[in-house]
């Protein structure tokens, strides 16, 4: 397939090998994710495939356990607050950066992107020590602030990408027709860049909801998030309830991913 007619036998052989190799790598990428799904429905407390008997006992365990429920609640609150903050700050910044008159763009862009680059443990330790000076360690506020810093680059990147295809003449037209700057923004610009903003918000939500290292340092038992609960669960003694939690997280990731895929497809049209 996909070869010109003059291809020789060795060309075809090579091509087949490369394609087979790539497919094997794709299986390596995907298979581990789905291995946990059947295990979470197994009745046995150990991890063997094929599953001998199916049951929902680990899900019952998960939903009946106050610790897991509390962790879900904490994660949700932190992720929603992070999303609101990061999306607002990031969208504004992207609007500024995308203007042709923006000064020192390279430098400021490097600053805005740096939370993606700095090793997460440094952010975690820095926040732990610094926020501790203000009594913010072991508080939800501290966690949200740190997560927001981590999430903003994603918003800046997605919104900037959308703005690069946005025709600024539309804003000018709105202004020349008598719209105030704010109504030009809310009624013309924002709807046009909405897919980028929503993509950024999804990225921000996922960043906070998945984040473990900062959460490990910044939370006490009461603010423990779902990933932290899972981390300590795996470290102590891996228990099938974690498979149920992981399967639910996987479902959440797929949902967020599908939302994002729909958005980008619409944007491409």
């Amino acid at each position: 397939m996909w070869l010109p007619s003059y291809a020789t036998l060795s060309d075809r052989l090579m091509r087949t090998l490369v394609v087979a190799f790539a497919l094997a790598v794709l299986m390596f990428l995907i298979a581990p994710l789905f291995i946990i799904v059947p295990l979470s429905f197994s009745k046995d407390p150990f991890f063997t495939l094929p599953v001998r008997e199916y049951s929902l006992r680990w899900y019952a365990d998960f939903f009946g356990n106050a610790r897991w429920m509390n962790a879900i609640f904490n994660s949700a609150v932190a992720a929603v607050m992070t999303t609101i903050l990061a999306t607002t700050l990031g969208t504004l910044a992207a609007l500024g950066i995308s203007r042709p008159d923006f000064p020192a763009r390279r430098l400021i862009m490097a600053l805005l992107i740096s939370p993606m680059i700095v090793p997460i443990v440094i952010v975690a330790v820095g926040s732990y020590l610094f926020f501790g000076q203000f009594g913010l360690t072991n508080t939800r506020t501290g966690l949200i602030l740190a997560h927001t810093a981590l999430a903003t680059p994603f918003v800046v990147i997605t919104v900037t990408a959308t703005l690069s295809t946005y025709d600024t003449n539309l804003t000018r037209a709105a202004l020349s027709l008598g719209a105030s700057p704010s109504s030009a923004f809310f009624r013309v610009t924002l709807p046009s860049i909405m897919p980028g903003v929503v993509s950024g918000a999804i990225f921000a939500f996922a960043t906070s909801f998945d984040e473990v290292v900062v959460a490990l340092f910044m939370t006490a038992a009461e603010q423990r998030t779902l990933p932290v609960q899972m981390f300590s669960g795996i470290r102590d003694q891996i228990n099938p309830t974690i498979m149920a939690a992981a399967t639910l997280l996987l479902a959440l990731s797929i949902t967020l991913f599908a939302m994002l895929a729909l958005l980008t497809r619409r944007r491409l049209k």
Binding site: I35, I36, D101, P103, L129, A206, R235, L249
Partner: protein
Amino acid sequence: MTVAEIDRVNIFMAVRRAEKPARRAALSLALPLIVFLVVAFVAPILYLLVTAVGNPETNEVLPRTLGALESWDGVSTPDEPVYAALAADLKVAKANSTAALLGKRLNYEISGMRSRVLAAARMVEKLDTGLYREKFLEMNRDWGSPETWAIIKRNGASFTPYYLLTALDLKQTPNGSIERVQGDQAIFLDVLGRTLFVAGLVTLFTLILGYPVAYVLTIAPKAIAGIMILMVLLPLWTSLLVRTTAWVVLLQSDGIINDVLMTLHLTGERLQLIFTRVGTVIAMTHIQLPFTILPIYSVMRSIPTTQLRAARSLGAPPSSAFWRIYAPQTLPGVVAGCLMTFILSLGYYITPALVGGPRDQMVSNFISVYINRDLNWGLAAALGVVLLVVTLAIYLLFLRLVGADKIKLG
């Protein structure tokens, strides 16, 4: 200057002036985020840098002693006033329970100092008057050692290179020269080397596995390529902890990989995969693979496939057509993908903690141990600084070679 030149300068300045409000407006939109990041992100990192060189303990607990040491010659056993000042300081320290802090700090540089300080603090509590020097020397001869006093005097400074030196397996001798630490104390260069080695290995594997995938993505029919790209993006989207959990389960000795190997008779006995370097590298490669594939793919997509055909039709054998025409053009994507993966691999914490053994722990894991278990924040911060410097050096290389605007998300 000619009139024309003056005009040009004037026009240039006028344009700059006219642009100023627009520049300010553009900047003011980004300002909230810049301020936020400075407070919630840059300040914590700067605080970490300060913690790495901060040295408050001796200065706070022994102000009188340090004052009395000013006139000490540095080679003989100090005189009575120094011991009297030490006794006074330790009395206050005992009352404020800061003696333990001082003992812990000095113990980093002189082993046994923790118990010596605490014992001295207990002793001076009961002493009312004089001849402290004799009492101290009676209790422990080391209280007379000029080396001990040299280190105490040196730690009167508010800043210390001690933690940074330790993080690089160096130490300062009492006379001030710097030398390499020997034996089982020299662990940090090992940890740093291991971190770089594992990150390099993971980068190499993601490149070997990822490059053909990126290539096949560019030649596959559109519908199939769409599904393939989903298979690359979905793992990227899946929670890191879910992926690590999957590997913990897969790699167990009674786990699925061993089941398969046994069934296929590839091994006679069950292999130890979890808590090993092999397991860590496999899991990290799996997690980093999309980060390497995507930049390579985005560069490959812009290379016309007709070039390869042209090379072939001009008589190039397949391998030289590929290596001389195609591969060099994919280099920007390869560099971007590999640097991204290398940078991210340096900071791994979760996967080595859950999948690796004690000898596979990375710099991040050591930082966490010094924060949470040993409560040695200075050393944790210094290790953080070393990791940060290495990462930023590679990031600057990335910016130089690739550019920050090129970071894309799928």
